[in-house]
Amino acid sequence: MKTFKKTSLAALMGTSALISASVMANDGPVKLGLMLPYSGTYTALGEAITNGLKLAIEQEGNQLGGREVEYVQLDSEADPSKAPQNMSRLVNGDQVDFVIGPVHSGVAMGMLRVAKQTGAITIIPNAGLGAATNELCMPNVFRTSFSMWQDSYPMGKVAYDQGHRKIVTITWDYAGGKEDLAGFEEAFTAEGGEIVQQILVPFPSTEFQSYLTQIASLKPDAVYTFFAGGGGVSFVRDYAAAGLKESMPLLGSGFLTEGNLAALGDAGEGVMTTLHYAETLENDANQSFVSAYENAYGEMPDTYAVQGYDTGMMLVQALNVLGGDTSDKERLINVLANVELASPRGPLSFSDSHHPIQNIYLREIRDGKHEVVSIASENLEVPDEACQM
């Protein structure tokens, strides 16, 4: 693919930019540039990430390695066409020490283009495009979230083990959705299952009746799907209203239902998804996180909040190790890469490509909560063949 050829070459060229990056002052506050959506469709995600991040830093007395923290919040509008100029504003205009963002994969592409040119340290707290830590491969780019592949691949084996042999997959016709299905289909067909049909819905349409009729006539053993936000809610509710849930179980990536439990209501009961987090996880870190988050913001955290929180904890740990000294960029990157967290989501560390190594949980919605059925894949590392740093 042409895009990937171009990007792998970019990887070779990017490293030189790092060295020339300017040395920041070390005694002033640590500047965190947040490039997240605060308007439009993805507002809720941007706010949850911001809340989680700020919670983590507040717990440290609003300091990172002994230095005060200053936030620069920029609305990314989830608009990819403005991503490079917004990123450039944070890096060159506001001269932040770290850029945290984005939510949207298209925006991530635009940001990473500038991250490559400037060597700015970028932590991705959501966007799941695989290329970010694979073909685009940059030492200055970290991710505290997931890649589409990581969350969907484990479901392939789960689906097969549950006895499903013929599955219909359905998602929006956009990059993130297709990457997600690819992960699932890879694992499911490797086990010996068959993908009866892959259905792509025009993005961002939420008019699903025609597709549900198609699924009903195909009569697969189960349906695997990736939708998110309002589309996720619409799909799950329409699927239940069409009476398909009983005859063909609905499987999905965790984003299908994440943050949407209240809006799903009864329609969500019994839906099985895989994700790197569930609010009901019974480890100490999660229990104290959930109660602290509820105290601070008056609502249950979701995986987006955890991703923000872990981004904050990653910075806390790294800057404590360095005593707040961010002047030596190479050392800073090295320390960040070696961060290990007892995260609310379980143990969290980073691979050579700066991608999280984490558990993927199989979750089922019962009584309006994501209950953990099992660990679908323990300490799963994403292969990222094109990026071995």
Binding site: A44, V201, R237, A263
Partner: protein, 286 residues
């Protein structure tokens, strides 16, 4: 494609088309009579959905919520018409496009401030909260049938008002020759205020009645707006009859396009529009 599959898809297309008609009718009414192009149309649809969500929570009853929300939508239309549009009738369409584009920004952001960024739902209200068996493994929500009925009934009412009432005569005359109507002693200004409010209310009502069938989320109006434009352009801008058949065509094309030509599904409505304009530059029923 067997017969049962085909019939169910026909039903899906019809249902989607009828809903589209309801959403687009306000747009075409406002344009046809007032010559105003309203980009904030999608935002009105969104506001209708959010209003009914909010009021259902407060009042505990969906039908009651609709009764309260409709006057609010009419009032919103009234305020916008008097405050902003009044000065624009004699000006270029460009100014209407820009002003209503500005309104989109304001209304979308107001939605975020008032209701936040989370996704919400409205529960399917009684007595329509059950399904009927359609095929061996597929059910159909009775509420969808109800919505189809409402859309059809409203289409009938609008048609009747425009064809057979005194108001309808004035409206049709006003659309053809504004000055003449004014010369006959009819207050066109009041007429315009009325039409705009009704148009906004129709759109918001579409959002309300569709709310239990969809998810209520930020930006939900933006995606419906362009589809409405296509409907209106195909049918012929300003024609209620055109909007009706345009909506049915688009409903069917979306439904069958998704199954028959999936690779072109996202473009099919635009292709149809281009084809129609090639043959009839002013739409099918203009």
């Amino acid at each position: 494609m067997d017969l049962a599959f085909f019939s169910v898809q026909l039903l899906n297309g019809l249902q989607y088309g009828l809903l589209l008609f309801l959403i687009a009718s306000g747009l075409t009414l406002i344009f046809g009579i007032m010559g105003i192009i309203n980009l904030a149309h999608g935002a009105m649809y969104m506001i209708g959905a959010y209003l009914v969500y909010d009021l259902t929570l407060r009042l505990g009853n969906f039908w009651l919520a609709i009764m309260v929300a409709i006057p609010i939508a009419i009032a919103l239309g009234l305020v916008i018409e008097r405050l902003f549009l009044d000065t624009l009738y004699k000006r270029d369409h460009l100014y209407q496009v820009l002003l209503t584009f500005g309104l989109i920004l304001v209304l979308n952001e107001a939605q975020r401030i008032i209701w936040g960024g989370n996704v919400h739902r409205v529960v399917v209200p009684a007595p329509f909260d059950f399904s009927i068996q359609l095929t061996d493994n597929m059910q159909y929500s009775v509420y969808r049938l109800f919505v189809m009925g409402v859309c059809l009934a409203l289409a009938g009412v609008i048609y009747w008002v425009i064809r057979h009432t005194r108001l309808g005569i004035i409206i049709r005359a006003g659309a053809v020759n504004r000055d003449m109507v004014e010369g006959l002693g009819i207050n066109v200004r009041t007429l315009f205020t009325l039409i705009f409010s009704v148009g906004v209310a129709l759109t918001a009502f579409a959002g309300m009645i569709a709310a239990p069938l969809t998810s209520i989320a930020p930006g939900m109006g933006d995606s419906i707006l362009i589809t409405c434009f296509v409907v209106v352009v195909i049918g012929g801008i300003g024609s209620i009859k055109g909007a009706f058949w345009g909506a049915i065509i688009i409903g069917m094309a979306t439904t069958f396009g998704a199954v028959l030509i999936p690779s072109l599904a996202s473009m099919v409505i635009y292709l149809i529009m281009a084809a129609v304009l090639l043959v009839k530059p002013r739409g099918l029923f203009a």
